[in-house]
Symmetry: C2
Subunit: 218 residues, 2 copies
DNA sequence: ATAAATTTTTAGTCTAGTCTAAAAATTTAT
DNA sequence: ATAAATTTTTAGACTAGACTAAAAATTTAT
């Protein structure tokens, strides 16, 4: 049984490993977890002792199969709870994160299985991210960032990268939600902003926004 | 914001204070929490510093209004989650306790208010215990232990004292649930056992059982 | 290829929470 | 009313987790 803190480290390493495709540096973990590199080194040693990560000094870490499974289980719980909060308890997608951060650490196999069934086995959370299955498998998504979409192409919003409350509120304000249909109708090269068509209205968005929005093209 | 451990102490003191009607001794808390008296002394000092309890050395403790409110809030969360687990997620009443012990510490006013509404504002948990309201008020119940019921009297099961899984399983096995109608049809003085009529069948129960079952008489 | 910059680790400190063993206070018994 | 028993507190130690400052290793730059 892992502690809350251990679970948070595993989760962070899981995300970084996917994103970097490589072994994960102490500094990268420290940055992601808003803590100090020295704290990360301490914790990594504990995780290595428990066979959750492979660690060689100065070489960064990788999850073991056991570590990856543990991380995926926590992420599964996080995302299932997010679905519950949005679908059943009237949370908006920018309100769920902090609560799900707490709920993801509740230990009860029955609870999470029953919750899964209660929600009718959802495959994606309210931000469009896939929910790992019981075995810890997680679907690769063919989403791309909006900034990579070509001029005049249609696409559908399937998720966000940065899921900070600020960004999600911005999206809400401009009526961009999961499933929204978008069309890129102009691209400015000087600041890399773009104009999109959303709900029949034109909207100019910065590079920061288009880099944080995931879409699927046809 | 209180820690998990602080919340557990407040809850224990709350229950002991109601039960004893008086100030609560270090030893009583230690016993209830399955910890050592010295640990209790340490924690009590912290709670006193935070104005959650009144403490004078060697004199035991009492909750302040603020402490009582905090304790009631935790108990409110515990009991609401129990209702959720039993009513929505197919938990039986002997399975809910350990999970509710974890869920009661989740911090989110919105979560608990929405859960309350989702469950349609329940007044009692699956063991028949009253759920404190938002202000921390908790209804006195006029329940008595079954062992005090007179011969030939009818009553309705409204709760349990000891809610250990073993005891709850015993009740399930004999089809005693919240709302069950019981009638005391015999009392043995030599071992204080009694015979009751439940679902048209006779059942002999020990003093241990009749002392742990709360009922309402008419 | 060596110096400079950066990253990572170590060593030592801190807090929360717990424990054991011993001391102090209180209660009970004679 | 004093001794014995019990309860409570204190003192000191331990673990998990985090931090600062300094040392060591690695990477980058010239």
């Amino acid at each position: 049984m892992n502690t809350f803190s251990e679970e948070n480290y595993l989760k962070a390493i899981f995300h970084l490993e996917r994103h970097l495709g490589d072994s994960v540096s102490t500094n990268a973990i420290a940055k992601k977890m808003e803590t100090k590199a020295s704290s990360v080194t301490d914790m990594i040693k504990k995780l290595a002792d428990k066979n959750l990560v492979i660690y060689k000094k100065y070489q960064g870490v990788n999850l073991t199969d056991q570590g990856r499974f543990s991380a995926a289980s926590v992420i599964r719980k996080h995302r299932l709870w997010e679905v519950f909060l949005v679908n059943e308890l009237n949370f908006s997608w920018d309100e769920v994160h902090d609560v799900a951060e707490q709920l993801e650490h509740i230990k009860s196999p029955k609870l999470i299985n029953e919750l899964d069934a209660f929600l009718e086995f959802p495959t994606h959370d309210p931000h469009g991210d896939p929910i790992p299955d019981k075995e810890g498998n997680i679907k690769k998504t063919d989403k791309i960032v909006l900034s990579k979409v070509s001029l005049n192409e249609d696409c559908i919003c399937v998720g966000v990268n940065d899921s900070s409350a600020d960004f999600l509120k911005y999206l809400d304000k401009h009526q961009i939600a999961l499933g929204s249909h978008l069309k890129v109708i102009a691209k400015e090269s000087f600041d890399e902003s773009m104009t999109i068509l959303i709900n029949k209205t034109k909207l100019n968005i910065s590079k920061a926004v288009s880099n944080n929005l995931y879409v699927k093209t046809n």
